[in-house]
Assembly symmetry: C2
Homo-oligomer: 238 residues x 2
DNA sequence: CGACTTTTTGAAATGATTCAAATGATGTGG
DNA sequence: CCACATCATTTGAATCATTTCAAAAAGTCG
């Protein structure tokens, strides 16, 4: 990981763009150009950044914070599709295929974003093919994530779905801890339920079960320690 | 739709590549170059084209026929992720992020494919940015399809899921008919079940129900007439 | 036409959901 | 820093829909 020059309060130093995966192949001069096109904005926890069905007309890149992307089903439930954090982007569907937002995006915590207008981004894509390549990479990764989600949701074994999600969070947000891996959950029980298509009660019951088995340990409502990662992995494949 | 010069038995005339969406922005000269890189192959119904976990090392474009892309869950069930037909491609994950196949691909009928090696395709991407753009477009569409699938699978109302799939098939494969839209189903009842995460018995029961309501009419096992498309659409949103 | 495969239908079992209540966590103001 | 009010989580019991297993009916193909 290369050191970057950034000690400003809101990460406004130009070289920050270097840390955004889709711009990572650009050289400093090109980064400068990208940075000149960026508009910054801040959102507080709970604020809506994009509403399903609207057309934002910009690519949004997360600079700091976490957001959830979800849809409201007609039944009133929300289905969470993605959790985006630093370096992730969204709004690409509007830029690439002129499609209105397929999900609502809401800040899970205080969040800073960078926006590049449709026009500017299309120019960038043409000028720097390396960006296209990086975007394709990320779209592929997102496809894999959704393919896994579809498989996971077709699985009858609900415990395996919970294990999957806990491992996903552990890989993304986990930190070493004396008892295992400490994970700050980005979502409440209800959020987790909406992420994997269950009810909050079921999530609660199954997580308690995993705790009884000594596989995880809950620390308050917002943290979990993965005590036995292997057991968690095993419980997915049966 | 521009007329193309093609009267050969297996569509081997060069200009056929013009009909592949990702090459559609290229001019005749460029198409020629692409065509020179293509290796053709045929598969019979039921044959495996790619096995999950293998690395094919080529982009595969379907020239004629239909295939299903699926995974085996540990429970032994198969989860179908995509049905690809003429003009669709797969194998892009290996080329773009060096990822082994995330699904098995099997021919649903006799199928002709075109293959372009990883190396050649990467050269094409660099040389013709228009291809990158088209690939991104298609990846976006695939994301939308999977996002819909995830939402659909989290919905409790099973009848709505069946209606969704029937409409999807109607849009892709439907033909006008005196009673409505005649659809040649690409999948058996069991296949449909594996596509939307249900059992074949449930699919059977719910389709019979739709028939009793006069919304569809089954013609043997492999065809369905959508009699009342609006009612089908309504049943999704409630 | 006849053998085989696929689909349909029936009845019982299973497991998540629902609704309700209790317990536990969190954050605020005194 | 504690007490209280609020919100989230857990737990319990009944319900409901899909699954499962089994058998009959219908469709397909040589």
């Amino acid at each position: 990981m290369s050191k970057h020059i950034c000690n400003c309060e809101h990460c406004q130093h130009k070289l920050c763009a270097k840390n955004v995966p889709i711009f990572s192949l650009l050289d400093p001069e090109e980064i400068e150009k990208v940075v000149s096109l960026i508009v910054r904005r801040k959102y507080s926890k709970g604020e809506i950044i994009v509403l399903e069905g609207s057309s934002l007309g910009s690519l949004v890149i997360i600079n700091k914070g976490r957001v959830k992307a979800f849809r409201h089903t007609y039944e009133g439930k929300e289905q969470i599709l993605y959790i985006f954090s630093e370096g992730d982007f969204f709004g690409e569907k509007n830029l690439i295929i002129n499609q209105k937002a397929t999900y609502t995006v809401e800040a899970l915590e205080d969040t800073n974003i960078c926006m590049i207008s449709k026009n500017d981004f299309q120019i960038l894509l043409k000028e720097y093919p390396a960006i296209s390549y990086k975007v394709m990479e990320e779209l592929c990764n997102r496809l894999i994530r959704l393919e896994n989600a579809v498989e996971s949701m077709s699985i009858k074994n609900v415990e395996a779905r919970i294990s999957s999600v806990l491992l996903e969070f552990a890989n993304k947000y986990g930190k070493p801890h004396s008892k295992g891996i400490l994970v700050e959950l980005p979502l409440s029980r209800e959020g987790i339920a909406n992420y994997i298509g269950l009810t909050r009660e079921t999530v609660s019951r199954k997580m308690s079960l995993l705790q009884d088995e000594g596989i995880i340990e809950m620390v308050g409502n917002k943290k979990v320690i993965i005590v036995d990662k292997e057991a968690l992995e095993d419980s997915i494949n049966h």
